[in-house]
Symmetry: C2
């Protein structure tokens, strides 16, 4: 902990290990990926609630808390100094914007991990290369990729936000599963069969995984 050349600074730093010891568990990223309507958010929030009851420090990153702030769209950002701020940094839904969207979420999840928290993310994140890039910012075992696997037909039937209907009607372009690809994970840490089991059971499967890996206590 101590650094002879810069004692004043380093003797007061709270390390990740100190935070993890206090929290009683390790920090990591649980990255849910899957089609719209597959159940990512529901499983993430169900898991979050169970972890909360176990006294574990968590955060859920999803569209609700990211798309209005950190990754707001071009029309939602107001530049303070009057430059063309919004169009430069605001994120839409083009491939490059989606890439930056996932990159920023990954960076925030990484900060949470470094502070001993379990970060649950619930985004379609359809491209393998974007997910792998987040994985590469973390140490082995810290990025837990979970494929929330439900057939397109099931997701489209559920259509909780009416987005598939809009996509089929041509009102939404580039919608994952309809006219934009979803790339399934090649070797995810876990696959959840989200058309066959309840969110409660799926969340328990994740908890078992976390115990097996000694991220949380058995």
């Amino acid at each position: 902990m101590n650094n002879e050349t810069n004692v004043t600074w380093h003797e007061h730093r709270v390390s990740r290990e100190m935070r993890e010891k206090k929290n009683g568990h390790k920090g990591c990223v649980i990255w849910f990926t899957g089609l719209s309507g597959s159940g990512k958010s529901t499983v993430a929030n169900t898991l979050d609630h169970k972890l909360y009851q176990l006294g574990i420090q968590t955060v859920v990153l999803d569209g609700d808390n990211v798309r209005h702030g950190l990754n707001a769209g071009p029309g939602m950002l107001k530049g303070a100094h009057g430059e063309d701020f919004s169009s430069r940094f605001g994120l839409g839904f083009s491939a490059i914007d989606r890439e930056e969207n996932i990159r920023r979420i990954g960076a925030v999840a990484e900060i949470y991990t470094q502070t001993g928290v379990i970060a649950l993310t619930a985004f379609i994140s359809p491209y393998r290369i974007d997910r792998d890039r987040v994985r590469n910012t973390l140490k082995d075992g810290e990025f837990i990729e979970i494929f929330v696997d439900a057939p397109l037909e099931v997701c489209e039937e559920r259509d909780p936000k009416g987005l598939y209907k809009k996509a089929r009607a041509g009102e939404l372009k580039g919608f994952t599963g309809i006219d934009d690809p979803y790339e399934e994970p090649e070797s995810p840490e876990l696959v959840l069969l989200a058309a066959e089991k309840t969110p409660d059971i799926l969340a328990d499967e994740v908890i078992e995984f976390l115990k097996d890996k000694a991220i949380i206590n058995s």
Copy 2:
């Protein structure tokens, strides 16, 4: 907590209030602002360590964990899909880039606040308008602006990173306090006299403030 129209989802959501109750304190942003060398990082980390010892959930956001990930520079970002990703989203030191730098940090601090954590930020953040914009994303009382007040002469004498020397030699352009303005807060929640008191005493002043405002327990 329950929402009759969407029970499955909402009954499992962990609210901010639930997290704050478990943590035993409220979430907020403690935004340190001041010249390079004023002591922002040292005070923030000293405070962080004291809060840690009080069992409080915190994060420190500073150049160390932000400039290499979330707000990496143009040369540090690698686009996954091969577009001109780095130059679009990478952040340098122009006014617009500094604005986006502070905006993203504010957005992350806001997420921490929403999850019942005390986020300490230590950035020069020289422009009033940028700091006020972060303040406006938060509720009254959640943004605690702390002016780490030390005269330029003292900061330049300390010059812990040798940046003033470089700025005086013309090797660094647009350096705050030398050839770029620092706008002092007009009504900060707290002013710390960082040339007169030790980091230990200054951190205690912040703790007294947090107790007075019932953000942490007395």
